[in-house]
Every structure is written in structure tokens, then in C-alpha cells.
Amino acid sequence: MQSADLAVDVLLALGVLAELFCVAGILVMRTTLDRLHYAAACTTVPAFLVLAAVLIREHLTSGGIQAIAAVALLFFLNPALVITTARAAHRADDPDSSA
């Protein structure tokens, strides 16, 4: 097994384990905001670990650049979604608030 294949396997395993950790957090946590914390984490470290594995395999070909674009979209767009969801959760908890 070449070192690149080993690196791909390790990065993919770490990325998938991190995603499973986030899913477990969404399943186990008690409040909505705690679950949202784990849902937001899905788009950070695990996504970049999978992206690193993809880039080792694909290099900077068109596929690699499109993979970078997909993960960048996840990473940069998700905070707006998290804020909007947190506001909705806040309103659900306290309907009189103006948030």
C-alpha cells in the first residue's frame, strides 16, 4: 500500500468518524441549540477531512476544484443557516421575543 493510499484511508476514516460523532450528538443532546451545535459541526472538520482525502486522490484537476467548491459552499453558507435556525428556535421557546 502506498503512502498516498494510507493517507486517504486515514483521512476518510477520521472524516466519517467525526460525522458519526456529530450525528450521535444530534441524537443524544437535550436542547435544540445543543443539537444545532453538532449539526453546524458537520460542515467544518469532517468536511475538510473528506476534502483532503479527495484532493490526495484527485489533485487539482477539475474534479478536485469542484470538490473544493462544494466544501467551501458548505463551510461559508452554513453559518447563515445556523443563525436563522437559532432565531427560529429562540422564537419557538419564547414567542414574545423580537429576535
Binding site: 476518510l12 435544540t32 449539526a39 468536511a47 470538490a67 466544501v71 435556525t85 427560529a88 419557538a92
Partner: protein, 83 residues
């Protein structure tokens, strides 16, 4: 079956608990689960693109990332308005 296909399979299996959360818990928790599903689905499509060796498939995760984000944003806005 290469590592990317194995990773995609495990990630597809990880969607099942989120489906349970989305169907059993209150709507706002279902929305949180839906957001996680969107992110994981994008990574699944990315792994499938590499695993199947089709470079034309790499467009699909980009489209999935954008469309799932827009869908969740609409749900969040309406949930915030109606609750």
C-alpha cells in the same frame, strides 16, 4: 469496493438516526436534523464521485450543497414566522 465507496456507505447509514430525529422530535429539531442531512448528503455525493471514478459527477455535490442550503433556509424562515 474502494475506501470512498465504503465511506459513502457508512455515511448513508448515518442518515438513519437523523431520519428518526426528524420524524419523532418537534419540527425545529427536525429542521436541525435536515441541515445535518444536507451536509452529509453533500459529502456522500463527493465520496461517490471519487469512488465511482466519474469526473462528471463532481457537479452534483455543488448543486446539492446549494439546494439543501436554500431549502433549509426557507424552512427556518417559515418555522420562525409560524411558531
Amino acid at each position: 469496493m474502494n475506501a470512498f465507496l465504503v465511506a459513502a456507505t457508512v455515511l448513508i447509514a448515518a442518515l438513519a438516526p437523523l431520519l428518526v430525529v426528524a420524524s419523532v422530535r418537534p419540527p425545529i429539531d427536525g429542521l436541525v436534523a435536515l441541515e445535518a442531512v444536507g451536509a452529509i448528503a453533500t459529502l456522500i455525493l463527493l465520496c461517490l464521485s471519487v469512488g465511482l471514478g466519474q469526473s462528471t459527477f463532481f457537479t452534483v455535490p455543488i448543486i446539492a450543497a446549494v439546494t439543501s442550503w436554500i431549502g433549509c433556509l426557507v424552512f427556518a424562515r417559515f418555522l420562525g414566522r409560524w411558531t
